[in-house]
Amino acid sequence: MKKNAFLFLWALLTSFAAMAQSGLPEVDKSPMDMCYYPAQYPNLKTQDRKTDPLTARVIYSRPKKEGRQVFGGLVEYGKLWRLGANEATEIEFYRPVIIGGKKIVKGRYTLYAIVNENSWTFIINKETDVWGSFKYSQAKDAVRIDVPVQALKESIESLVMNFEKENQTIKLVVAWENVKVALPISL
């Protein structure tokens, strides 16, 4: 048993060493992920299943809590947060949508948030292909919308985003630690 554990560790270490030697990028600590509306769209499309029309996609990186206090700690209240890690979180609309009463034309945008204890401000911004929120400019905002915070009973380790549909409204659900918020998107 001990020998196996040792072999496993050795294999792990040598693989990391190989990665470092090759000069090619290692796997990110906060791995990237993707979600679509309709949920699972690529999978369903490839199975020739009928779905709602393709509407939106988010590409984001997923930091972990790793024992830290996230909201009010790692993510400071009242300050701009990149809602992810590494490359700025990207939201793409495949058709025009309405957010916060404002018409948003189809295309790629970046997504940020200002987090507070009881509400979040989602920010959709026109500057794409950027890193984090370090050069964020409010002049390029497409829309801002305030949404209430919902408390979760169970703590979520990795930041997660997922599209859901309730009545005729699509919601981008964002959850991390003990908090869940939903960005409403109308067609």
Binding site: S15, V130, V160
Partner: protein, 211 residues
Amino acid sequence: MIKQFSILVLLACLSFRCDQKEKEAPEAEKAVIPDTVKNQQPDKSVNPYASVDVSPMDMSYFPVDYPKLKMANANIPPPVVRLIYSRPHLQRRHLFNGILKYDEAWRLGANEASEITFYKPVSIQGKKIPAGRYILYGIPHIDKWTIILNSNIDSWGLKQDSTKDAGRFDVSILTSDISLEYFTMVFEKTETGADLVIAWADIVARLPITL
């Protein structure tokens, strides 16, 4: 002896529970994914919305690290190309004895089809590629790889529709003395543009892109 027995029982229970879980998976998630196996360092916590993928997604730009370059220089011209792909890992398997098969199409990634976006027209092996979004897949052969651009975007990587191929390119392969645990795709600058470097285990293929 008793200890060994109890471990066996525990393992049996665990495997039974795993089986049950698979049966409960929704239809859409049932697709067989031969190039992913259980992660050795997963985020094991409960996540009711979306668990973290075994094969994490990643992104490569050319110019390399474009978003960081843009952070340093707001007036930089638009990027040339962006690639989004998922990164399966070997996990003690052999690339051509368990994961890939010679002469069979492979999605060059995992999960969603790997996606490549050209922000401007480029040329590959003399063929003009209009700006736009494509998916990428490949066919590994024993002495070369075929790299394929296809227009069936927003699809899952397991089933390719070759009627939508936008270009097929044969590239030679090299064997490296370093073995990569994770499947890796990056761009490297060349005199005429950039190479898309495709590397996994000890195999390296390069697709030259001319600007």
